[in-house]
Each structure stands twice: as structure tokens, then as C-alpha cells.
């Protein structure tokens, strides 16, 4: 049986950076946006650790602010380093997804 978590591990960084690149966001909102795009199985337990990792790498920065609901929460924005990573992710994903689609579709580069 395929390990979905392993495949997602490499993809979530780029997907989260894309969501955050549009505007400042917070953990639950990011989770809901990703679910809206199709990642139905995600919860905050999947997203928050990735945000921590992205912040450690300098791809996002965070600020604790009072939310409309009352308690404080962390809001994340993408950094310059995060934008560079996102651009590289975009390019690599485009290349890789095309190759995988070729393989699964049984076609080769030569046929194009």
C-alpha cells in the first residue's frame, strides 16, 4: 500500500509556501485552504510542524498577534528565501510531474 505521508512530505513545503505567498496566514487557515485545494486528510498536526520547519530554514517568518476570536496566534509570511525556494519548487515540480505523467502514460520524451 502506498505511503501517502511520504509523498506529501516533499510536497507540503512548496504548497504551504504558495498559500502563504499570497497573503499573511495562520495555521488553521492554511490547513483549510489546502483542504479546499484537495488535501482532504490534512489537520493542524500535519501543518504546524511544517511551518516550524519552514521558519527554521528561514522561508517564512512569524508574528504572534491577537486573533479576531480573542487568543493570540502566530501569523506567517513568506520571506525572500521562501520566494526563491517556491520558484525552484515550481520549476522542479513542473519537470518532475511531466516525467511521471510520461511514465504512467507510457509515453517518452521522444514521442513529443
Amino acid at each position: 500500500m502506498i505511503d501517502k505521508a511520504q509523498i506529501l512530505k516533499g510536497l507540503l513545503d512548496g504548497c504551504i509556501l504558495k498559500v502563504v505567498s499570497d497573503k499573511e496566514s495562520y495555521g488553521y487557515k492554511i490547513t483549510e485552504d489546502l483542504k479546499h485545494y484537495g488535501f482532504k486528510d490534512l489537520n493542524e498536526g500535519s501543518i504546524y510542524p511544517v511551518l516550524v520547519r519552514l521558519e527554521k530554514k528561514g522561508f517564512v517568518s512569524s508574528e504572534s498577534k491577537t486573533s479576531p476570536l480573542g487568543p493570540k496566534r502566530k501569523y506567517f509570511v513568506i520571506t525572500e528565501g521562501g520566494l526563491d525556494y517556491l520558484n525552484s519548487f515550481n520549476i522542479l515540480w513542473g519537470q518532475t510531474s511531466a516525467i511521471v505523467n510520461n511514465i504512467l502514460g507510457g509515453t517518452s520524451d521522444d514521442e513529443f
Binding site: 488553521y28 489537520n43 498536526g45 504546524y48 510542524p49 511544517v50 476570536l69 480573542g70 502566530k74
Partner: protein
């Protein structure tokens, strides 16, 4: 149903402190005349009390925020405190992780979401990402090096106690004051069986969210050190007594003491290195 507060680690710390105090009373009851030993014993008890106090203050610090979340979230939060508590994260990482969890719970409860919807009903899986990203995963290597560190430090302490009490610090005293087989084996079992057993039981209790009478199962690992210490003190079977009191050729020279110190430093460094690696 018992109003579970989830402070397993705090209760364990209190229990360990009490066990330590009992042990000191037993040692002191054997007419310890050396004031330095008494001072060391008292200092160690104070350190244990400070540990209990720090743990209690840590719980109180976030108490106000926790009070505001619903009981269903509170219970799960305290279970997560146990899981994070036995991980190998440092204090700052534990604090950051618990702040993140509390932030999630505060907002989810205000949105009237069920706690199981937030955690996916599986605490271990929910927390695995947090623990992994903070390098807090409890592994066999860490447990073995931790047990080794505990055991070696403890027998070095016992050796130091005997050397100072009976002969004063000298090479001759190091060679003459030997450790009893009973003491060494007891602490070997405590370090390599009791501590890992206690840690995994606490983790199991938290991830499976034990409630009510089931929480009493947390006390089972403590039967091991209590039984061992009782056997050491109470046993009057001649053959068994002879076995327990027989000398063990361990730390019987300055060279072996130095080797033990090196082993304790290496095991400590392995623990730290493993944490950094993850």
C-alpha cells in the same frame, strides 16, 4: 470518572523524590557520622525538591490559558504534556511545542470543533510531526545511552560515598571500599529496565488516553524498584544475603573509576549527539 488532570510526570517526580528520601533515611539510620555525606544527601534532596517545584511552576504558568478551554480539550492537552514531557526535546522546544498545541486548541474550541476532529483521534500521530521537527523522538539509542549514564553516575556516587565514609579520598580507599553485588545489580536493573519501562508506560498512558482506574497501571513499574530495595534491606536468607553482600569487582581501582567517568561522559555525549542529529 476521576477528574484526571494529566500531571503524570509531576506525580512521578514526586514519587521518585519520596523514594529518594526514603533511601536517604535508610542510609542515615546506619549511623552516618561523616558530616560531608550528610550535607551531600541533604543537597540532593533539595535538588529533587527544586525539580518538583520547577515542574509545578511550569504547570501553573500556562494554567490560566488552559482553564479557558473546554474539559475535553483540557484532558487531551494534559495527555500531550505527558507525551512531550518524555520526549528528548529541551525545555525551550517543549515550551514552544505546547504553545503551538494550546494555540490550536484555543481556536478550535472557540470554533466549536470537536477535539477528536482536531487530533484525528490519534494523539501519537498528531504529535509525531511536532516531536520529529523538534528532534524529540525517543529512540533505542537514546534510551540505552540515558540508562548507561544513569547507572554509571549512580554507582560512582555510591563508590564516592563509601570511600569518603570509610577511608577518606585516597587510592587505597578506592581499592579497599568495594561495591556490593546487591547494590550494583539493583541499580543496573533500575537503570536499564525500570526507567525505560516507566517512560514507555507514561507515553502509552498519554497516547492511549488512560482514564479513571486504568491510570493506576502507571504505578506498576514502581513495584520494581520498591521490590528491589525491599529485598536488599529485608532479605535474611543466608545464602541470598551472602550473594547480595559479596563484593563485585567494579570500580575497584583508580583506573576503573576513570574508565567509568569516561563512559558516563561518552553516554552523555551520545544522548546530545543523537538529539542534534534528529
Amino acid at each position: 470518572m476521576m477528574n484526571f488532570k494529566g500531571k503524570n510526570k509531576f506525580y512521578i517526580l514526586v514519587t521518585l523524590t519520596l523514594l529518594f528520601i526514603i533511601q536517604i533515611i535508610i542510609y542515615l539510620s546506619f549511623n552516618v557520622t561523616n558530616p560531608q555525606i550528610t550535607v551531600v544527601m541533604i543537597l540532593l534532596v533539595l535538588i529533587a525538591f527544586v525539580g518538583v517545584l520547577v515542574s509545578y511552576m511550569a504547570i501553573k504558568r500556562t494554567g490560566r490559558r488552559i482553564k479557558k478551554i473546554p474539559d475535553s480539550y483540557k484532558e487531551v492537552y494534559y495527555d500531550i504534556v505527558e507525551i512531550v514531557g518524555i520526549s528528548v526535546m529541551n525545555m525551550a522546544q517543549k515550551r514552544n511545542t505546547m504553545n503551538m498545541v494550546l494555540e490550536i486548541f484555543e481556536h478550535a474550541s472557540l470554533q466549536n470543533r470537536d477535539v477528536n476532529e482536531v487530533t484525528g483521534g490519534n494523539l501519537e500521530e498528531f504529535m509525531s510531526g511536532f516531536i520529529e521537527v523538534s528532534g524529540g523522538k525517543l529512540s533505542t539509542i537514546y534510551l540505552v545511552s540515558y540508562s548507561t549514564f544513569l547507572f554509571v553516575i549512580y554507582i560512582l556516587f555510591i563508590k564516592l560515598y563509601k570511600v569518603i565514609k570509610y577511608g577518606g579520598l585516597s587510592l587505597e580507599a578506592i581499592e579497599q571500599q568495594v561495591l556490593d553485588r546487591g547494590i550494583v545489580l539493583t541499580y543496573l536493573i533500575i537503570a536499564y529496565i525500570f526507567f525505560p519501562w516507566m517512560l514507555t508506560t507514561v507515553k502509552k498512558a498519554a497516547t492511549e488516553q488512560w482514564r479513571g482506574i486504568k491510570k493506576a497501571l502507571l504505578l506498576i513499574p514502581f513495584l520494581l524498584p520498591l521490590s528491589l530495595v525491599s529485598v536488599l534491606i529485608i532479605s535474611d536468607n543466608t545464602t541470598f544475603r551472602e550473594f547480595l553482600d559479596s563484593p563485585m569487582p567494579i570500580l575497584s581501582s583508580a583506573f576503573l573509576v576513570i574508565c567509568a567517568l569516561i563512559i558516563s561522559v561518552v553516554s552523555f555525549l551520545v544522548m546530545r549527539k543523537y538529539k542534534l542529529k534528529t
